[in-house]
């Protein structure tokens, strides 16, 4: 389920605390504060989210080989994805930020008075977001909100698990950036893999849109490769991403 929130007050962007890690060399993922909504809530939930995200990011590093370093940005707490306006995104892009992640956890009561644990994970795919300011879609900024189906600790851990989302978004961001840098071979590989990951299981409408974008970009990469290399023009089929389903 996706929840795209309304625009915040005009000074919200200014509230985005600067993270010194943006000045580190190389491509990077910024992991902002993971907070308990309203300042209260169960600490195990918070630690669960942090711990599971750390595992997700390690898996990303191991399995994709992307030369991306994850940096913690303490005290940086985007109120929502819309604070990432063009000036902020351009700065982050210039500093080789690929993805920014933040999250909130908390307990909510529904109309019947039952208590549920909720987690909201925000992502900004910086290169995709930058592109959206000129091309319009997809926005590249999204918030995934989930509610635990039970109050068991396992349900909470599953709630915060981003094992499928993190690599997909990182690959899509990396591929989009590489397209801008005319690194079409690597871009195509990452975009095809991102499309495959985004479409597995039961993708949300937002993930389907991102997958369609990934495939379109992958096709464009293929066209560029063929234009630059008569050999590849001879060899490569016209499919977007081969047999990727």
């Amino acid at each position: 389920m996706f929840l795209l929130l309304a625009l915040p007050p005009p000074d919200a962007a200014a509230q985005l605390v600067r993270c010194s890690a943006v000045d580190e060399p190389g491509y990077k993922i910024l992991l902002d504060d993971i907070v308990v909504e309203g300042g209260t809530g169960t600490l195990p939930m918070l630690e669960t989210l942090k711990g599971r995200l750390a595992q997700n990011l390690e898996q990303l590093s191991v399995e994709t080989g992307l030369p991306i370093t994850v940096y913690r940005c303490r005290q940086r707490r985007p109120p929502d994805a819309s604070v990432f306006r063009r000036p902020q995104v351009e700065q982050l892009y210039a500093r080789q930020v690929v993805l920014e992640i933040w999250g909130t956890t908390g307990e909510v009561k529904d109309d019947t008075g039952d208590t549920y644990h909720e987690a909201q994970i925000g992502y900004v795919l910086i290169p995709v977001r930058l592109r959206s300011f000129t091309s319009g879609d997809p926005s590249g900024a999204l918030t995934v909100q989930r509610r635990a189906d039970a109050l068991t600790i396992d349900a909470l851990v599953r709630l915060v698990d981003q094992a499928n989302a993190v690599p997909a978004y990182a690959l899509l961001s990396a591929g989009t950036r590489l397209m801008r840098e005319s690194e079409f071979e690597a871009a195509r590989t990452h975009l095809c893999r991102a499309a495959s990951l985004l479409l597995q299981g039961t993708p949300s409408a937002g993930d389907k849109a991102l997958a369609a974008f990934a495939r379109e970009e992958a096709e464009q990469a293929l066209r560029q490769l063929k234009a630059a290399s008569p050999e590849l023009a001879t060899l490569l089929p016209s499919d977007a991403c081969g047999g990727v389903s």
Partner: protein, 481 residues
């Protein structure tokens, strides 16, 4: 199992700051050796071993609280249990590292030192030798420990490919990855207690498995030992300097559970060790018949053993998983399931005399279902399928054979579209294109007399073959690519 007698090498292994000559002596020791508590900043392998397993501490994020020492205790238990499992296969070693990430305890830093890309290892992996690197991330939530193990396997300086002759054609393929994340797991608080208790028990050495008067093992600095023999869960060890000898309990097990039950990836670690040993025993490439002449008891036995452990991993891997019900279909488990399947396919291609059940192309097909984005997965499946359907000399002029090669070539072009610079894919694409061209011409020639006419199909294949050869030439150093 009876062990062999080992001569103790003079000296005493000590940790960082110790005498370099001692480490040299230890590194060159005959294998079936292990060492614990080696500082990550100065990692170590047994250079006399064909394959080393190196286990890093399981680490937690800074902000997440875990019971102190759990990560290192878990690493000790993993290293011991793996050692017990692999000692029967021959020249192997296992190393348990200690330290924190800021002290160099990261897989990237350790691997770079062990393969000589960075200075700092007490002993490096020798060229061609195998390494299985194991590390993990842990965190706790209420009464549970959640862990995720990561595994990397490699041979130093060796491309992990398999070369398969299909008639006169030589095809190359490789797995989609040599590192992956295992499925995340939950361990109960009772298991945590058992880990602690077992680690405490394993810090003891007994005169015999039946003895009730243990002595404590040395705890200062690195502790290294040779494995003289095994008996059930016990290993008969002699410490490097010979001053300590006795029996230690090697498995983290009790009457009710085993570490391997909670961490099925230990089966894969064992399987990866045996796979690497098998690769190191095979005939050198380019000698088409040598594989069949390899001692059947060596290569075939190793292939069967590796396949057996991979099957144990496959049948148990979701046990205790974070999302046991959904684990099988989760895309995040694609490599954790797919790569072992690919290794099983490769074992069948390497050791047909092992007579393993289910053909290579069955396993490569299963892997491809999970790894549809991978050019290497597509390529391996093409190679395995061709190996299954055309292993003899090509019957001249068979239209069916020509069609088979053209199908394979189309699949290889699809693979190339996923990774346009993949060298293994390019190599096999060239081979399949050349074979398709020959087979198509032969099929045309069978229909009439005289040399085969050029057809649109042969002209297109010929054009593609030229393109591939130009691409490969450009990719060579100085090739202008």
């Amino acid at each position: 199992m009876r062990g062999v007698g080992w001569r103790a090498i003079a000296g005493r292994a000590i940790g960082i700051g110790g005498v370099a000559a001692v480490w040299v002596g230890l590194a060159a020791a005959p294998a079936r050796a292990a060492v614990q508590n080696v500082p990550c900043a100065r990692p170590f392998v047994f250079t006399g071993a064909d394959v080393n397993v190196v286990v890093l501490p399981f680490s937690a994020p800074d902000e997440v609280r875990v019971p102190p020492g759990v990560g290192e205790q878990l690493a000790v238990l993993v290293q011991r249990e793996v050692m017990l499992a692999i000692v029967k296969y021959g020249r192997v070693g296992s190393v348990q590292l200690a330290g924190r990430p800021e002290q160099g305890c990261t897989p990237e830093a350790v691997l770079a030192k062990l393969v000589g890309e960075q200075p700092g290892a007490e002993a490096q992996l020798r060229p061609g030798a195998g390494l299985v690197l194991v590390w993990g991330r842990i965190y706790t939530a209420e009464e549970h420990l959640y862990l995720q193990t990561y595994v990397r396997f490699l041979r130093r300086g060796v491309e992990e490919t398999v070369t398969v002759p299909v008639g006169t054609v030589r095809l190359v393929a490789r797995p989609s990855a040599q590192a992956f994340a295992c499925v995340p797991r939950r361990i109960e608080i009772d298991d945590l207690r058992r880990i602690h208790d077992t680690a405490s028990r394993q810090a003891l050495v007994f005169d015999s498995p039946d003895s009730t008067s243990p002595r404590p093992l040395p705890t200062d600095g690195a502790f290294s030992y040779y494995v003289l023999e095994t008996r059930g869960d016990w290993m008969h060890i002699r410490e490097h300097s010979g001053t300590v000898e006795g029996w230690i309990r090697a498995t983290a097990s009790s009457d009710t559970w085993m570490l391997r039950d909670r961490m099925a990836e230990l089966w894969f670690v064992e399987g990866a060790v045996v796979y690497l040993l098998a690769r190191m025993r095979e005939a050198p490439p380019g000698v088409a018949q040598a594989r069949e002449l390899a001692p059947a008891s060596g290569m075939a036995a190793l292939a069967r053993a590796a396949d057996h452990t991979m099957e144990a991993y496959r049948s148990q891997w979701s046990r205790g998983a974070l999302d046991e019900a959904g684990a099988v279909s989760s895309p995040s488990a694609a490599l954790a399931l797919g790569v072992p399947m690919q290794l099983r396919a490769m074992l069948r291609l390497l050791a047909p005399s092992a007579e393993l059940p289910e053909a290579a192309h069955v396993w490569s097909g299963r892997a491809l279902e999970r790894l549809s984005w991978s050019a290497d997965a597509e390529s391996l499946h093409v190679v395995a399928t061709l190996a299954a359907t055309g292993t003899g000399p090509e019957p001249q002029g068979s239209p069916a054979l020509a069609a088979r090669w053209r199908d394979a070539q189309r699949s290889m072009r699809r693979a190339l579209s996923l990774e346009p610079t993949n060298p293994a894919v390019l190599q096999t694409l060239e081979a399949t294109t050349a074979a398709a061209l020959r087979a198509t011409r032969a099929a045309i020639q069978m229909k009439g007399t005289g040399p085969p006419p050029d057809t649109p199909a042969t002209r297109e294949l010929s054009r593609q073959l030229d393109a591939i050869r130009r691409l490969r030439a450009k990719a060579q150093p100085g090739g202008g690519g």
